[in-house]
């Protein structure tokens, strides 16, 4: 393997025995049980791995004594997988932990991501609002993918778009988290968004 240092060579005082690939990160978001891990597993070259991530939650209520929002950090499971593009480039897919009732910060996972895919179950649309808000707020390119459970979608894409109130430039597609080709195409939609944002 040729020695390349795509990732911040200044950090490395010593010489690595093997040159690492440049990691490109996509984030898979959405409510609990919406198919994030299934989607990662459908296309990852490794069985999805699980690790713990620290999530800062801002509780919806306000502490009566201090009148400040309660902010707690909890540890949640995070699933991820990867696809080797070539020896110098690797795509990582990180699934955000599903959290529905809290505002929360995923910065620990999302920092540096090139884009996000928000998976939606049309029976529980409100589960994905937090993810949509997050990507919009962070100005991270993203697409919405409606997971067709059992091949069925209960609402049209226009209804989903209206309900989520996403900008016109945000793609809304239907996919099947169990099908590799379908997940691939949904990720490509996100990457095209990222490419457009990069000016490419």
């Amino acid at each position: 393997m040729t020695r390349t240092e795509p990732a911040a060579p200044a950090v490395a005082a010593q010489v690595a025995a093997v040159a690492p690939p440049l990691p490109v990160k996509l984030v898979i978001a959405g409510g609990f049980g919406v198919g994030k891990t299934t989607a990662v597993g459908s296309i990852s070259e490794i069985e999805p791995l699980t690790t713990e991530a620290a999530i800062t939650e801002v509780a919806a209520g306000v502490d009566d004594l201090s009148h400040t929002p309660r902010k707690t950090t909890t540890t949640v499971a995070m699933d991820f997988g990867c696809i080797t593009i070539d020896p110098t480039l690797k795509l990582y897919l990180f699934g955000t932990p599903g959290q529905e009732r809290f505002g929360f910060m995923w910065d620990d996972i999302v920092e540096g991501a090139v884009g996000g895919l928000v998976i939606v179950d049309t029976r529980r649309l409100d589960d994905c609002y937090a993810a949509v808000d997050y990507f919009e707020h962070k100005q991270i390119p993203f697409a919405v993918a409606v997971n067709a459970f059992d091949g069925k979608v209960e609402h049209t894409l226009e209804e989903v778009r209206w309900a989520l109130d996403v900008a016109e430039r945000v793609p809304v597609v239907v996919f099947d988290a169990r099908e590799r080709g379908s997940v691939r195409d949904a990720l490509l939609v996100v990457l095209e968004q990222a490419l457009a944002r990069s000016g490419g």
């Binding site: 990582y92 590799r180 691939r184």
Partner: protein, 139 residues
């Protein structure tokens, strides 16, 4: 969670708890980078020749991390494979880097977001066939 203990009443999301409290092995330190921000989860970590030479003299987690990093690993992969908390891996990786046993490659987001890089990812993804005939239904 400054002290690394799980919140009360919250079940461990990934199975049996390790015997050692997560941050004991890092002497209480977290978020180690010079900039004060934790390195991204996809940051690549690789053993140095020196690290592999001294491998057998390293203890426990340090040994396991350097051994796993014979091949480049992301900090997230290390955490998952060694069943360590992400922030424990971050701290230990920084220690091992400072000792000269690992290199830590923080991705430059200017490079990863570059159009030429994104095009390479897109081309490679397009080449992935529809199915490999194996379905998983876990979530």
């Amino acid at each position: 969670m400054a002290d690394g203990s799980p919140p009360p009443g919250d079940p461990d999301p990934v199975g049996p708890a390790p015997a050692v409290r997560p941050f004991l092995v890092t002497a209480g330190r977290v978020a180690p980078t010079a900039s004060g921000r934790p390195v991204p989860v996809e940051t690549q970590v690789v053993a140095t020749a020196e690290g592999l030479v001294v491998l057998d003299e390293l203890d426990f987690e340090q040994h396991d991390i350097v051994a796993a990093c014979r091949r480049p690993q992301s900090v997230a992969e290390l955490a998952a494979r060694l069943r360590l908390h992400l922030n424990v891996v971050r701290v230990l990786a920084e220690d091992l880097r400072a000792a000269g046993y690992l290199t830590v490659h923080v991705p430059d987001s200017g490079v990863t977001h570059d159009a030429s890089v994104l095009r390479r990812v897109i081309e490679a993804l397009r080449a992935i066939p529809d199915s490999r005939g194996v379905l998983r239904d876990s979530d």
